[in-house]
């Protein structure tokens, strides 16, 4: 058994206290360690993703206790891909935070950043539902700190909403876990998958309640309408690099939905039938529409980007709610795209903010470095709105293709295409007011200095990743198709987790050990 699988959790967990304890007054040392940690994580995650790309299921039993008694970490294609996506995003966000000086506007940015990474990566890797709750809490606690980084009353007020909403979400999660444990007597995902099928049809009340509660919790994380109200304020008020990192947090909810509802409650399970097509799909369509209408209606650039995140999550969840291998493959392709595009847009928002007094969509004197910023905004908007040639367009095509021939095809096509049009209008309006109408306003005072070069490098890096995601779309989509195939054939996952021996698996062996 190799120990590499737990490295993405342990490394940030060790680095964060080190940064707090040993380097709390030295921002330079903090930056070096933070960047070095993320680079190491990229190497490790890349190796893990390579290792699982042939279909291997990696298993790590903590303390060598066999599942379901011990806690396990499981790495399959899906989780290692999400881990790799997270750390690559984290690198660009960190470069931006350092170059723009955001990390020095409050205390403990780098420590919280590492804890946040620990929570996100742990949530992707864990094979145990209660551990998923714990890692959710780790990432939430760190995100509370990051959210109110650099302080300010507006940010604190948005932080209160964010924390309260997520506290209620955590409580719901615990209710769901209690109900699942009472019904099945286990919280290990693979073991649950075995036991849920054993429940007889007349005893499904508890497990159905639990399945719906779990879906609610993940929908809160994924900002599905009508559970999205926490997102616009908190993402808009959070510091830009933090909001860019938060772009992966909604995807944690999407990941959890994919994982739990393919492994434990698969779509053909009678217990939870109707949950996806009757409830999840219409809600996802509504959030797609609400998000894109929000883009058109927003009066500030940061709210506009936050609403586009809701819209893109709606798109992801539409594709997930089809619960077919084609749909999941399209959803995973779109998840990568929307994470990169959302993060890039939040960083571009901050580039705009650095040259203006506020982010109101009103004509104001041109921002410093306007040409480059405008170009980047143009590319980011094209990506997010789903225009050719970037990956948003390909992602939408894949989703439309996956929906072809389903019962709700007319609705899906109409809303996806209609909302794309609305978002194009919204982004075009914002861009022309911000960058073109600015020419008609005379600058009254000296413009502030343009953003640092490294800031542009960070945003450019994200845009480059988007371009690569477009150019290698065939390969990426091929890989997400194999991920979906692995998700819809969970037997190797279950047997790897449940049948791998550890302590307690053989009583006689245990006697000899002691």
């Amino acid at each position: 058994m190799t120990h590499w699988l737990i490295a993405p959790v342990v490394l940030p967990a060790l680095l964060a206290p080190f940064i707090v304890l040993a380097a709390r007054y030295h921002i330079g040392i903090q930056r070096v360690f933070s960047i070095a940690g993320v680079l190491t994580l990229i190497v490790i995650s890349g190796a893990l993703a390579w290792n699982t790309s042939d279909g291997t299921i990696m298993l790590y039993q903590l303390g060598d206790w066999a599942a379901p008694f011990g806690i396990v970490l499981v790495g399959d294609r899906l989780s290692t891909m999400m881990v790799l996506l997270t750390v690559v995003l984290a690198l660009f966000v960190l470069v931006y935070a350092i170059s723009s000086g955001w990390d020095d506007r409050g205390r403990h940015f780098h420590a919280l950043f590492q804890f946040q990474l620990m929570g996100i990566l742990g949530a992707f890797l864990t094979g145990d539902l209660f551990n998923l709750f714990v890692f959710f809490e780790v990432l939430l606690i760190a995100s509370y700190g990051l959210m109110i980084h650099a302080g300010g009353t507006k940010r604190l007020r948005a932080g209160v909403q964010y924390v309260l909403f997520n506290l209620i979400g955590s409580t719901l999660f615990l209710f769901a876990l209690g109900a699942i444990y009472a019904e099945t007597g286990t919280l290990n995902m693979a073991d649950l998958a075995n036991r849920v099928t054993l429940i007889t049809p007349d005893e499904t009340v508890g497990i159905r309640v639990a399945a719906v509660l779990l879906l609610l919790v993940f929908a809160i994380k994924a900002a599905l309408v009508p559970l999205h109200f926490w997102l616009p304020s908190s993402y808009a008020e959070a510091p830009a690099p933090v909001a860019a990192l938060f772009a992966i947090m909604t995807k944690v909810g999407a990941y959890a939905i994919i994982r739990v509802y393919t492994l434990i409650f698969p779509p053909d399970l009678a217990v939870t039938s109707g949950l996806h097509d009757v409830w999840l799909l219409p809600a996802a369509l509504i959030s797609l529409a609400v998000g894109m209408i929000g883009v058109l209606a927003a009066k500030q650039l940061d709210r506009l980007v936050a609403f586009s995140i809701i819209g893109s999550m709606g798109m992801v969840l539409v594709s997930i709610a089809l619960f077919s291998p084609v749909g999941i493959a399209a959803a995973l392709y779109y998840i990568v795209h929307s994470t990169l595009a959302g993060a890039a847009l939040f960083l571009i928002t901050d580039l705009v903010r650095s040259g203006r007094s506020n982010l109101e969509l009103t004509p104001q004197p041109p921002v410093s470095g306007a040409t480059l910023t405008a170009g980047l905004f143009f590319i980011g908007a094209i990506a997010m709105a789903g225009l050719p040639p970037l990956s948003g367009f390909l992602g939408k095509l894949l989703v439309l293709d996956a929906a072809y021939g389903t019962d709700l095809m007319v609705w899906i096509w109409a809303i996806v295409l209609g909302s794309s049009l609305i978002s194009i209008v919204g982004f075009a309006r914002a861009g022309s007011i911000l960058f073109w109408k600015a020419k008609s306003v005379d600058a009254t005072e000296a413009a502030p200095p343009p953003p640092a070069t490294m800031s542009y490098v960070a945003v450019g890096g994200l845009i480059t990743m988007l371009a690569a995601h477009t150019i290698f779309a065939g390969q990426v989509h091929g890989y997400t198709t194999t991920i979906a195939a692995q998700l819809f054939a969970p037997e190797p996952y279950i047997s790897t987790v449940v049948d791998t021996p550890g302590k307690l698996s053989d009583p006689t062996e245990k006697e000899e050990d002691h």
């Binding site: 509370y144 604190l156 209160v160 924390v163 209710f175 876990l177």
Partner: protein, 118 residues
């Protein structure tokens, strides 16, 4: 005993939800505390109610109580306790900064609303 514990969970949850739906920080935090109490007891009972039975394997004993929910509930208590402390601090900071403890976004008002409006 089942009826007593079930109704305790129910009443606390109902009161918690009522308080969470208020619009001021203080009742909402109280409501969340009540909800976490309710969920702690709910988790505790998810291993079935057994009185006077040991949780650890021993010879010549046949009835056990499930030790796992107790471990789960301990984790949940620690996390919810810490979270409540965090939200009190952030809420206090927001209240002192803006002199307003509504938890929702307020529309921009030029005139002060009368005291006591929800």
């Amino acid at each position: 005993m089942e009826l007593l514990i079930a109704s305790a969970i129910g009443i606390m949850t109902a009161a918690g939800i009522y308080l969470v739906l208020r619009l001021r920080t203080f009742p909402v935090i109280l409501g969340i505390s009540l909800l976490t109490y309710a969920v702690n007891i709910f988790l505790f009972t998810s291993g079935r109610l057994v009185v006077g039975a040991p949780p650890v394997l021993r010879d010549d004993i046949t009835t056990y109580t499930d030790p796992l929910p107790q471990a789960l509930v301990l984790t949940a208590i620690v996390i919810s306790f810490g979270m409540t402390a965090v939200v009190v601090m952030i809420g206090l900071g927001a209240f002192l900064g803006s002199d307003d403890d509504h938890v929702d976004d307020q529309p921009d008002r030029s005139d002060d609303a009368p005291e006591g409006t929800p």
